[in-house]
């Protein structure tokens, strides 16, 4: 397949995942700030913005006005926020449209539905109602996209690049969530339960470890549990095996990098929540996940050099 197509599919996967991840986190954070806990409502919103690396951008646009409405608006469709839900959906669609000749019609249709259901206007209406409705709507539409991927896509290289994009985005987000919660909530069990909820993991976790399990167990679960779809180890192992199946990938660096990362994580001792070495482990993971993404870009264009990138203005 064309290298450019591979890259577009990769980014389409990343952006769909990002849109759905953001709405999920927004929903969980909004529930959490309604509950009585050690952290104030504005702390909860600040934590969320930090997970997304958007705390500074938010402060620039909104100052210190941290409320359900300002944060929702900013995360969902604010034009000042290049990583908003709306922007992610636009990017996801643009990337799918770039490869519309190679993806199944069902996927095209699902992405267009996601796009027309996520216009600034319809999102603004949802923001006025509640973060939960944003989640219900956008996440639901994202699931029709992932359903179309699962049901209609041939398991070819295109599928693999799309999935690699989704899984790397997930792995990175999960790491960040653990990292932020570690630094702000420490061993507070209820905070960790919220984190699990935002990755659809609460039920799976309680079934496996019981409702009384300590925070350290949650961190291990999110990093190590191979059967947990949002688990970092799960994502990285799949990235490695998907990439190694790609036609011509025998000489690539990215499948090896992902494989090494997965193996390293698998055999790593997971430090407890209050141990500073957990922070270092998470930082290393995040950095290496980003590196894998760069490796992949270089692998795709090792033949004939990276192509000229251009924008509409120069055409």
């Amino acid at each position: 397949m064309l290298s450019r197509h591979a890259e577009s599919l990769f980014w389409a996967g990343r952006y769909v995942e990002r849109a759905s991840y953001i709405t999920r986190m927004l929903d969980v954070a909004s529930t959490r700030q309604l509950e009585r806990s050690s952290r104030s409502s504005s702390d909860v919103w600040r934590d969320l913005l930090r997970v997304l690396y958007l705390d500074e951008a938010f402060a620039e646009a909104n100052g210190t006005d941290l409320s359900s409405e300002t944060v929702s608006r900013f995360l969902v469709f604010d034009r000042d926020n290049p990583s908003s839900v709306a922007a992610s959906v636009r990017e996801a669609r643009a990337n799918v449209m770039n490869v519309r000749d190679v993806v199944p019609i069902e996927l095209l249709e699902a992405v267009n539905r996601l796009h027309s259901g996520s216009t600034d206007r319809s999102l603004a209406q949802l923001v006025q109602r509640s973060p939960h409705e944003i989640y219900e709507t956008v996440s639901g539409l994202c699931r029709t996209v992932t359903g179309a991927i699962d049901e209609a896509m041939t398991r070819d290289d295109g599928y693999r690049f799309l999935m690699v994009g989704r899984l790397l985005e997930r792995a990175e987000m999960t790491c960040r969530m653990i990292d932020i919660n570690r630094s702000v909530s420490g061993g507070d069990a209820s905070a960790w339960m919220s984190v699990l909820r935002s990755v659809s993991g609460l039920h799976a976790f309680t079934r496996a470890h019981g409702a009384l399990a300590p925070a350290n167990e949650v961190v291990r679960f999110m990093l190590h549990e191979p059967s947990f779809p949002f688990g970092v180890l799960h994502c990285l192992s799949r990235v490695s095996s998907l990439l190694s199946e790609v036609d011509g990938a025998a000489s690539w660096e990215s499948p090896r990098a992902a494989g090494r990362l997965a193996a390293e994580l698998q055999y790593a001792e997971i430090p407890s929540v209050d141990d500073p070495s957990l922070e270092r482990l998470l930082e290393r993971l995040e950095a290496n996940i980003r590196k894998t993404s760069e490796n992949l870009h270089n692998d795709l264009y090792q033949f004939g050099g990276a192509p000229l990138m251009y924008s509409f203005e120069t055409v």
């Binding site: 000749d101 011509g248 004939g304 192509p307 251009y310 055409v315």
Partner: protein, 486 residues
């Protein structure tokens, strides 16, 4: 109690040629359609139109309109009242299109890869050919298999007030619209499935294989299983939907210039598995952007070294380079003579009456009657720059007069053709709207015509401008297997 009025009971076709009614009677081939429409209410049709629009939107069947910010992507506009052409009428049009396309191919091949016989024998003046915007010196000596320089042609035809089909213009470079022909048909099947049981309609959806066959015919000598690609300027182009559609239908890669690289006069595409040789390029970008080494230097859409690779015989490009000289509107008046010259027969489908403005006598005549004629710039497409005398202001006419005086080569003038009309869904009724037709003609080993083509409709009352970039709509076009009512 009286039954409610049927939709077409009070239809007034006006004075121009109507495709459906003649002297208050329904033409035989429209009888079943009219009966079906009369069994529906406007709300029924509106409902189907809404469903069709939302399907098109979800499938991304859209076109981009340049010059705006957001919302520059518009859903493809289809009017759900189809246009019907009976078999014998179509057979004549089809023969005329084949005849014309063959002559144009012969003219181009004669000019660029032959002895220039048409110029030598005085059929068309040399200065006119060589001063054309579409003329490319670089195309000389570039051979094309079977002389099929125009692999895909879109020839716009209209019907005048007597119902005579006439060619309005030729599009021999990168004509677009065929994807909408196929999608319109699919939409009509969803909207009016029952009608398809009552009519026997010639299919249009084998276009992918028709085009691929013609493109493979262009493969360099000795290549048995050629790799064909479609070269697009990318998603910002107004016809990107069509590029993706055709790539899908043919099962070929949709590439952009940056996906291709030339090494030692061989063209490759960059794939995840390494460089892969490309043999035939169906390009949907203009000559100017094709190869920055030869044409527009600042272009990033094209492929440096492509023309040299063509000259080396390692890759074929369709449509060929330099075709624009033959669809120059100033060359158009000579096409009937070119047909006679190359085929020895009279044109089956005539031109519109046209005046050339560098001829003193004709120019004087035109300037006299400017308020009755249509003036068209020779190099513009998409309906831009056209001045329709009777509806132009005095200022516009003065400007046209000055433009013509300054550059008589740059314009032609034509008698106004009162395009035929067709019942079309308007806000609160079915109303007559002007239509034209763009058939598609594909040349490989032989020349074939897609049954029907893209019927474009001017949605504004009285308007003669059908271009979709200017608010035009479209209709599914049914070519019947038989005459009239079965």
């Amino acid at each position: 109690m009286l039954p409610p009025m049927a939709l077409l009971d009070s239809y007034d076709p006006g004075r121009t040629f109507c495709e459906v009614f003649t002297n208050g009677e329904v033409r035989p081939h429209y009888e079943q359609l009219v009966a079906r429409l009369n069994s529906l209410s406007l709300a029924d049709i509106d409902e189907r139109a809404r469903l069709t629009e939302s399907t098109f939107r979800n499938l991304g069947i859209t076109f981009a309109v340049y010059g705006g910010d957001e919302g520059t992507e518009r859903t493809w506009p289809i009017d759900l009242v189809p246009r019907i052409i009976p078999a014998a009428e179509w057979a004549t049009v089809e023969a005329g299109l084949v005849q014309r396309t063959r002559a144009l191919n012969m003219f181009l091949d004669d000019l660029y890869d032959g002895e220039g016989a048409a110029i030598r024998d005085g059929i068309v003046p040399e200065w006119l050919v060589k001063s054309s915007d579409g003329y490319r010196r670089a195309a000389h000596g570039l051979s094309v298999n079977g002389g099929a320089r125009v692999v895909v042609a879109g020839i716009d035809i209209v019907r005048d007030d007597l119902g005579v089909y006439r060619v309005l213009e030729d599009n021999l470079r990168v004509p677009s619209g065929i994807s909408y022909v196929v999608e319109n048909r699919a939409a009509m099947r969803r909207a009016f499935p029952l009608l398809f049981g009552q009519y026997s309609i010639r299919p249009v959806d084998d276009y992918g294989s028709m085009l691929l066959e013609a493109l493979e015919f262009q493969a360099p000598v000795g290549v048995d299983d050629p790799t064909v690609v479609l070269l697009s300027p990318g998603p910002f182009n107004s016809a990107y939907f069509e590029h993706a559609f055709l790539a899908r239908r043919m099962g070929v890669e949709l590439v952009e210039g940056r996906d291709l690289v030339v090494r030692d006069h061989v063209v490759y595409m960059r794939t995840t598995g390494g460089l892969r040789q490309v043999h035939v390029i169906y390009r949907r970008i203009d000559d100017d952007y094709l190869d920055p080494v030869v044409f527009e230097r600042s272009s990033v859409l094209g492929v440096p070294g492509l023309i040299a690779a063509m000259r080396a015989g390692n890759v074929a490009v369709a449509n060929a380079v330099g075709n624009g000289v033959a669809d120059d509107k100033a060359v158009y008046p000579y096409v009937p003579d070119l047909i006679r010259y190359y085929s020895g027969a009279d044109p089956i489908v005539p031109n519109a009456t046209t005046y050339t403005l560098w001829d003193d006598e004709q120019r004087a005549h035109v300037l006299d009657r400017l308020d009755e004629l249509v003036v068209k710039p020779v190099a513009e497409a998409g309906g831009y720059g056209i001045v329709i005398g009777r509806s132009a202001s005095d200022e516009e006419l003065d400007r046209a007069r000055r433009d013509i005086a300054a550059n008589p080569r740059g314009y032609i003038a034509q008698e106004v053709i009162e395009l035929s009309t067709h019942p079309t869904l308007a806000r609160d009724r079915l109303a007559p709207r002007h239509i034209d037709l763009r058939p598609f003609i594909v040349t490989g080993e032989t020349t074939r015509v897609v049954a029907g083509g893209l019927t474009r409709v001017a949605l504004r009352e009285g308007s003669l401008i059908v271009n979709s970039s200017q608010g035009g709509g479209s209709k599914d076009t049914w070519v019947l297997d038989y005459e009239g009512a079965a």
